[in-house]
């Protein structure tokens, strides 16, 4: 049975990966373990984690920062800190009528309406209200090849849009909207 040697976590990180910011107090890293070249366990600090590695090989990340208060993770590309995108800061609902928020704040929304009578002004209520504004909405008519029709977007607001189509009968409208 292999023996796992438990080491002082700060020393392990220094020895294995470079140096760690030890200015933080109340370190609680007694669960870190090393086996060969692999470290496992939970590295915890108060106020977030900063990990810095010296002599960084090409293609490896040298500095990282995780901010538990804002749920953001950053890496340093050598010049600037870059925000990493993860499912915690990119909420989405991948469904027929759904949305995807990007870490930049941009939100994509899409959907298909129920059948709408031709030549009347109908409203598309987005799956979620855009917190600030909707920049644009593109709409098209779900129709057959022999009933080619167009959809017109009359107005766009942050919670809904007005659309009309000119097909010969009631049709569904497929749409996509971009905002933030």
């Amino acid at each position: 049975m292999a023996t796992i040697q438990t080491l002082n976590p700060t020393d392990v990180i220094k020895e294995t990966f470079g140096k760690i910011n030890t200015s933080l107090t109340n370190l609680n890293n007694d669960k870190l373990e090393k086996s060969g070249d692999t470290m496992t366990g939970l590295l915890t600090t108060l106020g977030g984690i900063d990990l810095e590695v010296s002599s960084v090989p090409t293609g490896k990340v040298g500095r990282m920062h995780a901010n538990g208060a804002t749920n953001q993770i950053y890496y340093h590309d050598g010049t600037d800190w870059r925000n990493m995108w993860h499912h915690g800061n990119n909420p989405a609902s991948v469904s027929a009528n759904g949305y995807q928020k990007l870490a930049s704040g941009m939100i994509l929304q899409w959907g298909t309406t129920t059948e709408i009578a031709p030549n009347i002004l109908a409203e598309i209520v987005y799956p979620i209200v855009f917190p600030n504004t909707c920049f644009a909405l593109a709409a098209t008519v779900e129709s057959d090849w022999d009933d080619v029709a167009a959809a017109v977007v009359s107005y766009v607001s942050r919670d809904l849009s007005g659309v009309t189509h000119n097909a010969s009968a009631s049709k569904k409208i497929k749409w996509i909207a971009i905002g933030w």
């Binding site: 366990g41 939970l42 609902s93 027929a96 409203e123 209520v125 799956p127 917190p131």
Partner: protein, 141 residues
């Protein structure tokens, strides 16, 4: 061992306008503290149902319910009543293809005119793609 947490289930809300129609949807992970106090919390399944057809639901005495066929018909009638005569006519005219087809069947423009040339081309297309026995021509075909 670090356990990666699955994304927690978002909490959705629906807001209604003064006419009790759905005015918008909200979700806590995006709107945070900006969700209207009057918005009603709903399940993810309810959100998907309502978001797929918002105009079919209304708030009735504090309860969200599907509108009746009569209510939907009344809304459609009101929307049509709001249209001007041009839009109402446009929606009920025969398709433009059918109108042109009827005219070309009836008109016989004199030779040498542009209209005659166009009608000849129209007849040539009909001859190139003859109508199968028993089929019905539609939309100016």
């Amino acid at each position: 061992m670090v356990v990666v947490q699955e994304r927690k289930q978002p909490q959705y809300y629906v807001a209604f306008d003064s006419a009790a129609n759905i005015a918008g949807f909200y979700v806590d992970e995006i709107h945070g503290d900006d969700i209207p106090e009057t918005a009603i919390p709903i399940t993810a399944e309810q959100w998907q149902t309502y978001a797929a057809a918002p105009h079919r639901y209304k708030l009735d005495s504090g309860v969200i319910r599907e509108k009746t066929a009569d209510e939907l018909a009344a809304e459609l009638a009101a929307a049509r009543a709001a249209l001007g005569y041009e839009a109402l006519r446009r929606s009920e005219y025969p398709p433009i293809g059918d109108q042109l087809d009827a005219l070309w069947k009836w008109l016989e423009p004199p030779e040498g005119t542009e209209a005659h040339e166009i009608r000849e081309r129209w007849l040539a297309v009909k001859a190139a793609y003859p109508k199968p026995e028993g089929s019905i021509e539609t939309d100016g075909a």
